[in-house]
Amino acid sequence: MPAGCVDNVPPTEPLPWTVVSVESVFPQLEPLLPRVSKPVQYVGGELNATTKDWDAAAVRWCLMYPDAYEVGLPNQGVMILYEILNELPDVLAERTYSVWPDLEQLMRQHGVPQFTVDSHRPVGAFDLLGVSFATELGYTNLLTALDLAGIPLHAADRTEDHPVVVAGGHAAFNPEPIADFLDAAVLGDGEEAVLEITDIVRRWKDDGRPGGREELLLRLAETGGVYVPRFYDVEYLPDGRIQRVAPNRDRVPFRVFKRTTMDLDAWPYPKKPLVPLAESVHERASVEIFRGCTRGCRFCQAGMITRPVRERSIEGIGEMVQRGLETTGFEEVGLLSLSSADHSEIAELTKGLADRYEGTNTGLSLPSTRVDAFNVDLANELSRNGRRSGLTFAPEGGSERIRRVINKMVSEDDLIRTVTTAYASGWRQVKLYFMCGLPTETDEDVLQIARMAQEVIRAGREASGRKDIRCTISIGAFVPKPHTPFQWAGQCDPDTVDSRLRKLRAAVNSDRGLGRNIGMRYHDGKPSLIEGLLSRGDRRIGLVIERVWREGGRFDGWHEHFSYQRWVDAGATELEPLGVSLDWFTTRERDETEVLPWDHLDSGLDKEWLWADWQDALDEREQDDCRWTPCFDCGVCPAMGTDIQVGPTGRKLLPISPVGKGTPVRNPALTRS
């Protein structure tokens, strides 16, 4: 046992149970609950949750978000798939989330398996375990759940009795680091993909499970839309780079393509959003107003892999908002997308909704808004009927130069103008998000963040006539992601990031008068380096993940649980014998010809276009948005057979008459004659 492996070693021997029953494990779980923190997160009972008869279901999905309940429950992806699957009469879907280490320990002591919160059924009894990875930092939590469920960690060790483990979510666009633990991965939108997978599993079960697990996985793989890592062999060059990735079965295609759901109006999910008893990170009903983004920010994986833009219609949004309010009772509706103010009819939409819900204490929020698409009318509509929280913008880069590199072209003038208007209109607090460690970045680029924040305060004080306004700058370390122009970039090392952040703090405080109105929030660069390792890693990283997990790694997205040293040590132990290292995977810049671990996974983006865009970044050249200028050939639409779907439609949101008073729901039973 290597050094550093002594403390907090979780037991990882085979667990003492096997799944023989699909009875609720709640009777075994319940006595443990008074002994753990926030037990309510494990009892289920959410409003709009579905429970179904186990024996009547032909195909049974367990959906997992591998983080704490409070983070996982509001996840839109899981909610949408949960509802779509449960709408099928012969399909059952339940949910499971990561248990905190306090409960994990008790579950191991008392032999309680990983359970779903819907009916407290053991996860190991399901046909499929679908895991949604929004971030790579959930990988160790996947291993905890598999182990607690009694599912072998390695896909190769699983039999027909174990669930098929399928990954989805943005991190699934490079699932190679967890390839050994997965049976399959799906790239892109899940709405139609889960239905097709369900059909294949149903048919295979109806046929009497011919060919066992291997045949089922082959049937999934040959569709071209489901990646089954075991059917691809990876060969390496002597210097550690990948030589090639090729299928090892005839029926398996060379490339796996991402899924794209077109016509969002045909998929108005979630229709009945889940409302937990416990508090969660998003206490609101969310309506996705469009999917995809072509602003072209070069750091943004989400914007690259979700193209093209597909808008939901204004009427479709209106219906979802009303149904969401009726079925949840939330006081706030979030209009979600990657850049919500960019919806072609955002002004009509926000005004229409604010009119409709006047007097009902219903707030609207746009979680992602660009400075250049925002204006005070929009702000006023948003806060008209509900609570007013702070305004948040993400200029991402401190200097004009670095914003050209990352192609986030918001000018400082735009920013100052927008926040000034906001302060003048009664907002007291503006939050600005930035990144540190971007390609080509110098100290000077980061120090400009301080100047910008000071300028915001100076202009804001003048406009509002008040001294007590605040500006909070929040800085995260940049992580290069697959399928972006920065996929070739060397990640900035944590020491450089930390040193720049120290200098920035000094610069913010250099002017005392302004500095006391500026808050600064940041994390050190170390967790980001590990995120970088997991983002751009290949199959060899699976060894590191497993070692970290065996040595107690859990909840790596939570700084109180994250241990940088554990990752560094595990990286050294597992990677050095292979001639590679943590640095090799993170801070090393790749060249044009290198085979990247995800090259066989097709996001639609043309690799040559990505390389050209990377060169444009280095030359500080901008790229416009194809919604307003001609197509620039990123490759997605022709490769995927898709097209941009945007308005304006010119249609209006009709008022709903009448809404209640003090509530958006009118209940005739409560009207006195």
């Binding site: 006595p31 037990p39 320990q105 003048a424 007291r428 003090g662 209940n667």
Partner: protein, 336 residues
């Protein structure tokens, strides 16, 4: 327990909870253009009616904290279409007044809350609509139109029913005798601000150990047994019934059990299950007076005229009739 301490550290602060309501009124730009901020943001009609409710917290829902219940309740009010009055300002809240809530992990048959409405409603249909909108386990048992006085002044003690699986009734009876004989019993509790010591005995009015094998059908069955997921526990099971004053700091069922440990070394082998059976004002005989009795007597519920029939949209606004001040003097949140 060190496990508990570690578990507490995992709660990371949430931005939303930290947003402080800003209470800005009018602002003008340099150019003198008035922006569309209203003088009084989010104006709400004044309350014209107050309703008091008794509700139960049963089964697995007992693991909710008071904050969980409050959020769930507010959402249910909106879903049920209850015409709630709101506070004003940039951060309006529905006017819901809570009286000391049962602690997390403890069930209850007798929780009380008061709500303020901008339009009068009949309490009967309100009870049904709200009960339907709440998750199973949070059950509205009674609604009455509020009369004079405040809820808080009608409640000063609780009766608890505490099941102790694995504790023999004799052992329990003996421990109870010792507890009641003691003058003062110091117990410790881990709070957010560290360890806190208090005298549990002073708040205890009566305690009684019950042997479930000797109580017949007429005895109160464990209320939680109404919920299907309640586990069957092995006999023996001692039952403790305690009437406890709502003092400051509050003495909870946990503290009563701690007191039994202190005086008699009684340590239940599995977690005890506590249910609040009643709240009210303590009378001379140690009984609790129903806090809704006066309201119920003052406003007999009118017979609802076919709640299902479509009704003309007429609002009987008693404008100005409602109190202008803030709600009744309330105790918010679980005390302690």
């Amino acid at each position: 327990m060190e496990e508990e301490a570690a578990a507490i550290a995992v709660c990371r602060p949430r931005a939303a909870a930290l947003v402080v309501a800003d209470r800005v009124r009018v602002t003008r730009t340099d150019t003198g253009v008035a922006l569309s901020r209203q003088h009084q943001p989010n104006p709400s009609d004044p309350p014209v009616q107050r309703i008091r409710l008794r509700y139960a917290k049963r089964g697995r829902v007992r693991f909710t904290s008071h904050r969980d219940v409050a959020r769930t309740f507010e959402r249910a009010l909106r879903r049920a279409g209850v015409p709630m009055a709101y506070s004003q300002g940039f951060s309006p809240h529905p006017r819901v007044s809570w009286v000391g809530a049962a602690p997390t992990g403890v069930a209850s048959e007798a929780e009380y809350v008061e709500i303020a409405l901008v339009r009068p409603v009949d309490p009967g249909p309100l009870r049904q609509a709200l009960d339907a909108a709440l998750p199973p386990g949070l059950d509205v048992l009674e609604t009455v139109v509020a009369g004079p006085g405040t809820l808080a002044e009608k409640i000063d003690a609780s009766r608890w029913w505490i099941e102790l699986p694995g504790v023999a009734p004799d052992t329990l009876a003996d421990a109870v005798t010792r507890l009641m004989a003691a003058e003062r019993v110091e117990v410790e509790r881990l709070t957010k601000n560290g360890r806190r010591t208090m005298d549990a005995r002073a708040a205890i009015v009566t305690t009684e150990g019950i042997d479930p094998t000797t109580v017949g059908e007429q005895a109160c069955p464990p209320p939680t047994a109404q919920v299907a997921d309640w586990p069957e526990h092995a006999a023996p099971c001692g039952i403790l019934v305690a009437v406890v004053r709502q003092t400051q700091p509050v003495v909870r069922p946990d503290d009563v059990l701690s007191a039994l440990r202190v005086v008699a070394g009684l340590v239940p082998p599995v977690p005890a299950m506590a249910t609040r059976m009643a709240q009210g004002r303590l009378d001379d005989r140690g009984d609790l007076a129903d806090p809704l009795a006066a309201d119920r007597a003052a406003s007999p519920e009118p017979a609802p005229a076919g709640a299902d029939a479509p009704e003309p949209r007429q609002e009987r606004e008693a404008t100005g009739a409602g109190e202008q001040g803030p709600g009744p003097n309330v105790v918010a949140g679980p005390a302690g």
